[in-house]
């Protein structure tokens, strides 16, 4: 099998060029999808017969929660690629994606809490989903803190990769045990986060929002990675030229 494409993928220069070309398109797609989704969800989607309009929070809560979980899986995948194939870009991706994931978890937690007030009458309820999200936030904090604590950046990436892989193996166990704990302690009568049958007018804007959030994540991740690549490869001649060109434009 021909693996040159794979190694090319790992080349920072190639990444910098391609991502520069994609970035504007992705940015526009993210802006468009998120705006359409927000307006659709806020103004046009029908209200829920049980929860009324507070249900509209779902259009942020669910995409953010989705993204938060997939970013963690992505961290672990990047960790495997970085450890096994020693691809530097994977290390960069891992370290740069973690803060975004933490922010998304934060959004999911916050919207979940705000949503809980009109539905449960309390800002915080130890609901299985919310609790899992809180633990996910702690896992993100762990990765970020470990990355910051280790001064040698190769070791930091590798250590974060190991932690992310251990975490990702643990996440399903945590999720199931928390769900189990939840059913044991408070037999939930009514779950906001589980919508068995949602009409098309409701889930179509949700789909738009989910795709929009993924695009947004890609845009922010690429921006952060491009800066980090410039920093890490500052000795390479192409970076020197690029920085000179950029600095020339700025001044």
């Amino acid at each position: 099998m021909n693996w040159t494409w794979f190694h090319k993928l790992g080349s920072p220069k190639w990444f910098y060029e391609i991502s520069g070309r994609w970035l504007p398109w992705l940015a526009w797609a993210a802006v468009l999808l998120v705006s359409v989704g927000v307006i659709w969800g806020l103004a046009f989607a029908p209200e829920d017969y049980q929860q009324g309009n507070s249900f509209r929070i779902i259009y942020i809560h669910v995409p953010a929660a989705f993204l938060a979980q997939s970013i963690y899986v992505m961290l672990a995948l990047a960790g495997v690629v970085g450890l096994v194939w020693k691809m530097k870009l994977a290390d960069v991706a891992l370290q740069q994606a973690a803060p975004i994931g933490a922010w998304m978890t934060f959004i999911a937690l916050l919207t979940g809490a705000v949503w809980g007030k009109p539905t449960w009458g309390a800002w915080w309820v130890w609901d299985a989903r919310l609790t899992s999200m809180l633990i996910l936030l702690f896992l993100y904090f762990g990765i970020i803190a470990l990355g910051q604590a280790i001064s040698n950046r190769d070791s930091a990436s590798k250590a974060c990769a190991v932690l992310a892989i251990v975490g990702v193996v643990n996440i399903p166990i945590i999720k199931y045990s928390v769900e189990w704990w939840n059913t044991l302690h408070q037999p939930a009568t009514f779950k906001v986060t589980e919508k068995p049958a949602m009409p098309v007018e409701m889930w179509l804007p949700l789909l738009v929002m989910v795709i929009g959030f993924y695009c947004f994540f890609t845009v922010v991740l690429l921006m952060r990675m491009r800066l980090e690549v410039l920093r890490r490869e500052s000795r390479a001649s192409w970076v020197k030229n690029e920085v000179k060109a950029l600095v020339g434009n700025n001044s």
Partner: protein, 58 residues
């Protein structure tokens, strides 16, 4: 359109506070996520520009 008037839209059937705070804060977080890397990039380029000038003047 699901609402009959703009006032209705803002009120969100008594749930306006909850809906708008969640959307507001989330939007703020999203914008923060874009602004921070942009600022970091600008700062990095300024540092590099200063460094380059220093090297040239030497």
């Amino acid at each position: 359109m699901n609402f009959s008037s703009f006032a209705d839209f803002i009120a969100m059937g008594n749930h306006g506070v909850y809906v708008w705070t969640s959307y507001g804060i989330s939007l703020a977080v999203l914008i923060l996520n874009v602004v921070l890397p942009v600022l970091a990039r600008r700062r990095y380029l300024q540092d590099e520009a200063r460094r380059l000038r220093r090297e040239e003047s030497k």
